[in-house]
């Protein structure tokens, strides 16, 4: 019965997608094999190719060779994917496990008639209509679980137009777990990526450029927060988890794609960290060095490789706003660990750069207390424990 229901649901979805395709196919434009800079009203690339004529970008057509993975196709990710599609990116790989809901309609991109469809499928459908020259690959799953994570890493490693690693991964997810999973994958396979985020109160956001071994990874320090200058005490979270504004999301998506274009097409300067405080229209920037004591093994490995390659090919780099990921303060805020009797003290949070602080402070290594005396009895098997738990 359940399975039958699921099957019907699936067929209904497929029907919906087919219908959409039929409606749109009559007006869809044919594919364009080569980008032209000719300024005629039928050329969708003329204004983009003008960047080349004006000397901003050396070789705009290069964009067609690139593959970008967008992880999370929500408020930020869908707009990001649309911008890249309109810019004529070669290939987009979209990851998201969610469905379109009416509750998403305060954001851009998705439309009410798409509710119920998977976000990746609905997005690929709209986007391939906007620009049929772009290749789309979609994955409707949660990347943080074991099986999906392996597959996710595989697609990052082999998903490009030439079956090699993608050129860039853009994290547009809305939770810490997924960011940490992307971070782990990118450190492991040495993949350059961008992090992006909008705060739960919808009035601040950021993008961050992560080059494994060269810049701080997402696990090098506690998550960074752009100060929104709102008194925490007046911020009411009763009754709601998160707020969202289409404006903040679109601004963050704009920053993200602008820096993606700068990185891929080699113009201007790519921001390592760019924050947005909507309350004051304040945009802090900085660059953060990796933490040599980072928790992530592959981050430390990439740092080692980076040091070795610097010895072989010394480059003089001048970054004025470099900041170390970890500020080893004295324990002046009375941060303490929970042991079985001790209270937890909430501390003030280190300011990393003006207007940017850590979401919380971590204890310094020396403080780690020993666990309780209840140690695992080596003679008990996992199966026995599972059975014991089940019989309770």
């Amino acid at each position: 019965m359940e399975e039958l229901k699921k099957r019907i649901e699936q067929l209904e979805q497929e029907l919906k997608i087919e219908k959409l395709k039929n409606e749109t196919s009559s007006v869809a434009r044919p594919k364009i094999s080569q980008m032209s800079s000719e300024v005629v009203d039928s050329n969708p690339y003329s204004r983009l190719m003008a960047l080349k004529r004006m000397g901003i970008v050396e070789n705009y057509e290069k964009i067609r060779d690139y593959t970008v993975a967008v992880v999370g196709v929500g408020g930020v990710g869908s707009v990001t994917a649309e911008m890249l599609t309109r810019c004529g990116i070669g290939k987009l790989i979209l990851f998201d496990y969610d469905k379109v809901e009416l509750a998403n309609m305060n954001r851009l991109f998705f439309q009410p008639h798409q509710s119920g469809l998977s976000k990746v499928e609905a997005a690929a459908n709209t986007l391939s209509f906007i620009n049929p020259d772009v290749q789309f690959e979609t994955h409707n799953y949660n990347i943080t679980t074991m099986d999906n994570f392996q597959h996710f890493m595989g697609r990052i490693k082999e998903g490009s137009l030439t079956n090699g690693p993608v050129d860039l991964v853009l994290s547009c997810v809305d939770n810490f777990e997924a960011r940490m999973a992307i971070n782990a994958a990118c450190n492991e396979i040495n993949q350059i990526w961008f992090e992006s985020g909008v705060s739960e109160n919808a009035v601040s956001g950021h993008i961050q450029f992560l080059i494994p071994g060269k810049t701080a990874c997402f696990a090098c320090a506690p998550p960074l927060v752009v100060a929104s200058n709102i008194d925490e005490k007046t911020l009411k979270k009763d009754g709601v988890c998160a707020a969202s504004l289409p404006t903040t999301m679109a601004i963050v998506a704009g920053f993200l794609v602008q820096n993606t274009l700068k990185y891929l097409l080699k113009f201007g300067q790519v921001s390592y960290y760019l924050g947005y405080n909507a309350m004051q229209d304040f945009f802090p920037t900085m660059m953060m060095k990796p933490n040599d004591g980072c928790d992530d093994y592959h981050c430390r490995l990439r740092q080692k490789e980076q040091r070795e390659s610097l010895i072989l090919n010394p480059v003089k780099e001048t970054v004025s706003e470099e900041i170390a990921a970890v500020i080893h303060e004295d324990n002046e805020w009375g941060i303490s660990l929970v042991d079985e009797s001790e209270p937890v003290v909430e501390g003030a949070h280190s300011e990393i750069a003006p207007g940017i602080h850590a979401a919380y402070d971590l204890p310094v290594a020396e403080e780690v207390v020993e666990g309780s005396s209840d140690s695992v009895d080596a003679n008990v098997s996992l199966e026995e424990l599972m059975a014991q738990m089940k019989s309770m």
Partner: protein, 164 residues
């Protein structure tokens, strides 16, 4: 900030030692043993204190967990299915506990029925990696959530008592 009741329930849960996630093979088995021992101890303590409120079990890899939790009000037992996956980044990141049948019924949830945790949960978890495990996530996350949200949902008539 952790209140007195939560602190008391935490004190009954053994701390874990092995920092390993589902990608760590043998070490994960060790971690899983610690998880089960901590959970068994926690459930035993809850029973002793007449505050038994959940049961959990996992698939054989220990990556997918499911069970029941319940809340008692006016001598009526309101029971809910609980489920969560262990993320590849566990135990650095906590599991996201979900009550799927309440999805869409309260604003204190993310999509899929994942409960919305307090601002204190994540920093507290981060400071106690790898000592906190699933039992701690239940005690610090789901327990306080049920205590606040269920009475409210009962009052609003969103959750109604079902005769078993």
């Amino acid at each position: 900030m952790v209140d007195e009741a939560t602190r008391k329930s935490l004190s009954g849960i053994p701390l874990l030692k092995t920092k390993a996630g589902p990608r760590d093979k043998e070490l994960w088995v060790q971690r899983l043993k610690e998880e089960f021992q901590a959970l068994i101890k926690y459930v035993e303590t809850n029973k002793q204190q007449d505050n038994d409120w959940f049961r959990l079990e996992s698939n054989k890899e220990g990556t997918r967990w499911f069970g029941k939790c319940w809340y008692i009000q006016d001598l009526l037992k309101y029971e809910f299915d609980v489920e969560f996956d262990i993320p590849v980044t566990y135990p650095t990141t906590a599991p996201e506990i979900a009550l799927p049948e309440l999805d869409g019924k309260t604003a204190k949830m993310y999509r899929g029925g994942k409960i919305c945790l307090t601002d204190h949960f994540k920093p507290l978890w981060a400071r106690n990696v790898p000592k906190f495990g699933i039992a701690h996530a239940m005690a610090l996350g789901l327990g306080p959530w049920l205590a606040v949200e269920i009475p409210d949902l009962i009052q609003k008539g969103v959750v109604v008592y079902k005769e078993k």
